[in-house]
């Protein structure tokens, strides 16, 4: 079995009476690229900050590279790269100044050539001040700073937020550069499922602070499917099938979103319910995620949708 580089046990965080992270049990093996996805306010940033020891858990614990998050030593932190949400850097510094500052904390690991290559690739100059950079350029600097010390574990908090498609692609290519180095582990949170699909081999889904999925991307994509059933007569009132996430009704049909239900079971249920025919439709990751995290009593935003 692969070595676990990141582990949480019953990790819980309350802000006052608001539950942000709810008993999260998570294990991330070494060498994987893990997409950490969840809706706005799902608890991604809180979970990441708890893992890095920037927040104190209300209950539970987390361990990074074998060390408890609440007592991460400088030596362990040296092995962990972190890209903060919004790429908050010291605005008054130049890129070169920031490089000098950051290099001091990684005296043996810092790869000058790699940093220079990345800055050149992103068409930036070391003389540029951070305050004069766009959001996308700050993201690029932030990534270069995190990758240059060649960290064993890279944690990124919504690194592509607010970036346009071209810069996002550049950013992801930079990430792939790290991934190609053996034994490196990446955990990155994102809203953009396309990015997760493009680079991840593992997905962690968090919803309202609760860990809903932690599996390979392939497993996740196989597990969630949509079955469209049509009926000659009336649609059955009760839908009793294992793994049912969502059920949408029309006059002569049902649209079921299912998780972990194999095709045979769907076929059996369709026959027993008297369906005229049925189709199993493959969903893209974004649709799967939306259906997977949609609340059961989902309300429509606009009334006209129901007309």
């Amino acid at each position: 079995m692969n070595e676990i580089v990141l582990e949480t046990k019953g990790l819980t965080k309350y802000y006052g009476s608001t539950l942000a992270v709810d008993h999260m049990d998570l294990q991330i093996p070494r060498g994987c690229i893990c997409g950490f996805v969840g809706r706005n306010g799902a608890g991604k940033t809180t979970a990441i900050k708890l893992m890095l020891g920037l927040l104190n858990p209300t209950a539970g614990s987390s361990r990074l590279l074998g060390c408890d998050s609440s007592a991460l030593t400088p030596a362990i932190r040296q092995r962990i790269g972190y890209v903060t949400e919004g790429h908050r850097l010291f605005r008054w510094m130049s890129i070169g100044g920031l490089e000098t500052f950051q290099r001091a904390f990684f005296p043996k690991q810092w790869d000058d050539k790699f940093f220079a290559d990345m800055i050149e690739y992103f068409e930036l100059s070391k003389k540029q001040k951070i305050k004069h950079l766009s959001n996308g350029q700050r993201a690029q600097v932030s990534l270069a700073l995190a990758l240059a010390p060649n960290p064993e574990l890279l944690i990124m908090d919504d690194p592509t937020l607010g970036l346009d498609a071209a810069i996002r692609r550049q950013f992801l290519e930079g990430m792939i550069e790290l991934i190609m180095r053996q034994g490196r582990t990446v955990l990155f949170s994102s809203h953009i499922l396309g990015d997760v699909e493009r680079v991840s081999d593992r997905i962690v889904v968090i919803d309202k602070g609760v860990l809903r999925a932690n599996c390979s991307l392939e497993q996740f994509q196989k597990a969630i499917k949509k079955a469209i059933l049509s009926f000659a007569d009336s649609v059955p009132d009760q839908v009793n099938i294992d793994g049912l996430l969502q059920c949408k009704r029309s006059e002569k049909g049902l649209e079921l979103t299912l998780v972990g239900t194999d095709d045979e079971k769907i076929s059996e249920w369709a026959k027993s319910a008297g369906a005229e025919n049925y189709n199993i439709v493959q969903m893209n990751l974004e649709d799967q995620f939306i259906e997977f995290t949609a609340p059961a009593n989902h309300k429509r935003l606009f009334q006209w949708e129901e007309r």
């Binding site: 908050r88 850097l89 010291f90 605005r91 008054w92 510094m93 500052f101």
Partner: protein
Amino acid sequence: MRFSALLRKELRECLPWMLLAAIAFLALGGFFLRAKAYYEGDRLYSRLSPGTIVDHYQLTFYPTLNFTGPWFFCLSIGLGLVLGIRQFWIPHFTRTWPFLLHRSISRKSILAAKLSAALIACVISMGSVWVGLYWYANRPEVFPIPQTVRVFIEGWIFIMLGLVVYLGTALSGLSTANWYTTKIFGLVFATFIIVTTLSQWTLVGIFAVIAVSVAVLLVQIFDTFLRREY
């Protein structure tokens, strides 16, 4: 190497305020000293015999450098307040705490770098100008009566009060409580210490009050900085 990188960064952030305070103190202190030197040298002391100059001095009990006192006091307090805000409030608003804290150095060292930078900033900007003004005022061709050592020490007390205000601002900045509850404690405590210090009659009393307040504030700051969430 890591600590010096942090210290350089903190000093660079303090630099504009250090320079501003030093220039303001030099300009205001220098101006008022020159004005007083002109008044006392040309208009007053030139008409008095050496013996009566001493009498006049003792009678008015008005050390020349005290003339810079109010400006010096305000600038010291202002510098302490600004440095505290720059180091402990601004990172909260710019959300740079996580970037600063996740690095291969202990939190204690990060805080020590901040405190050291503020101490250096206060001592260099206010202290050096104060030493310069004291030296200038002690030249016989400027003032016939030499300045007392007590005046010089009182200047350093103003600098120390600036540091107390800096620590109080830092503590308030680090507090995650609401501003109308314990968050304001640091600033209120610093104000209380200023009032207490100014009401002391002896230097020993003043140093005792400052030493105790600095110790209390440092303990609180270290505890809050190491425990708080970012």
